[in-house]
């Protein structure tokens, strides 16, 4: 990991968010300490701390002085809403752009998506 040019602290923050979304980190659950993260990923502890600070600022984690970091109760709902909001811009906008470049009509994509929906049912 850590090689796509995104700052490492953001990659760690994104990973913690993903773990909250997929349920491996429960609301109210305790998160590993800065030093545990640093030792596990072999990174500077200040980098891990930056990730935590960002997540606290976003209300995803909260700090209990002297005890550690915990997942906020509404973190999953909040992240899921955020994810839905950014889905179109992050996933669909590049898709439309690439389809244009390749000369694929959007109606083909719509048909494909309809088939997928049928397959899921």
């Amino acid at each position: 990991m850590f090689d796509d040019g995104t700052p490492i602290y953001r990659q760690i923050a994104d990973q913690i968010k993903a773990e909250i979304l997929n349920g491996s980190l429960e609301p109210g659950g305790k998160v590993m300490s800065t030093n545990q993260y640093a030792a596990f990923y072999q990174i500077n502890p200040a980098t891990a701390q930056k990730a935590f600070r960002e997540l606290v600022d976003e209300g995803v984690l909260y700090k209990q002085r002297g005890v550690g970091m915990f997942v906020a109760d509404d973190a999953r709902d909040r992240l899921a809403a955020d994810f839905r909001e950014r889905f179109f811009e992050r996933v669909l906008a590049p898709l439309v752009r690439e389809a244009r470049q390749a000369g694929i009509p959007l109606t083909d994509i719509i048909d494909y998506l309809r088939d997928q929906e049928g397959a899921l049912k």
Partner: protein, 290 residues
């Protein structure tokens, strides 16, 4: 207590030549710094001044807020480890490690544990060690010094990749166990980048850049695409390459959202620049300005 470092208008001359010219530098206590520079850029001169191995021709060098020159209480808690370790070759490894005890905070038990872990034979003479083991011995002396400011000057040279990896791991563990100031001077930038909090680039006797690691990581970009589309963006390129109708440029600055969008719309691929590549371009002798 870990040491801060402050250099004020520091010049170091070797004869008539400036090794360092009018350098200002502030390192906060308790962080891990990467010191980058080409051969002869002034890295070792800079570290030698901070460790009071040398006296500046002009200017002030403060460590822990105090002038470091001939300041025994401060110097005894500063460790500068150079490649090869500055050892007496005729001594045994054990005796060499024991010499470290002149430092008040030297941890003999830790040194012996590391010697065992890195398989450095205690009974051998230093002269009989391979280059790799000699570098390891130097690193051990640096770690076990448990100094308030520890500087490793290219100490990884001679170590093979697994040993370097184990050394960085140990360095990080020791740092987390006991926060202190660390300076790593190296050429293997991408290898240590994740361990660093700030990076200082020295070039031709001056400080070229000093910033958070994230600032460096977000700094550059490579753009590859149809040559006229790349040219149309009108960016200042650090380096460029052409292959037929395709052009690839490296830029030093972070791209703003507008440029990213225009690049994407024109079919230009935008990629990150490794710290190593950015460093190579920034310190290119044929480059003018910074």
């Amino acid at each position: 207590m870990s040491f801060s470092v402050n250099l004020r208008n520091v010049t170091l001359k070797y004869g008539a030549e400036d090794a360092l010219a009018d350098v200002d530098l502030d390192l906060e206590a308790g962080k891990i710094y990467g010191l980058l520079g080409r051969n002869g850029a002034g890295k070792t001169s800079l570290l030698s001044l901070i460790a009071a191995f040398r006296r500046p021709t002009a200017g002030d060098v403060l460590v822990g807020g105090e002038p470091v020159w001939e300041n025994a209480p401060v110097v005894s808690r500063v460790a500068l480890i150079r490649e090869g370790g500055d050892f007496d070759d005729t001594e045994s490894v054990k005796a060499t490690i024991e010499t470290g005890q002149i430092r008040p905070s030297f941890d003999m038990a830790y040194a012996l544990k590391l010697a065992d872990q890195f398989e450095v034979p205690l009974k051998k003479r230093v002269s009989a060690l391979s280059r790799g083991k000699r570098s390891v011995l130097a690193a051990i002396c640096g770690l076990a010094a448990r100094a308030e400011l520890t500087m490793f000057d290219e100490v990884h040279l001679g170590m093979d990749a697994p040993t370097r990896d184990a050394f960085y791991k140990e360095l990080l563990a020791e740092y987390m166990d006991r926060p202190h100031t660390v300076v790593l001077s190296t050429h293997l930038i991408d290898e240590v980048a994740n361990y660093l909090e700030e990076v200082v680039i020295v070039d031709r006797g001056r400080i070229l850049r000093h910033a958070d690691i994230e600032a460096f990581q977000g700094m550059g970009a490579t753009l590859t695409g149809p040559a006229d589309a790349v040219d149309a963006l009108g960016l200042a390129a650090l380096a460029e390459q052409r292959l037929g109708g395709t052009k690839s440029i490296t830029v030093a600055d972070a791209l703003d959202a507008g440029t990213r969008q225009r690049a994407a719309a024109a079919g230009i691929e935008v990629g990150p620049v490794g710290l190593q590549d950015l460093f190579i371009h920034l310190t290119d002798p044929n480059r003018t300005g910074a």
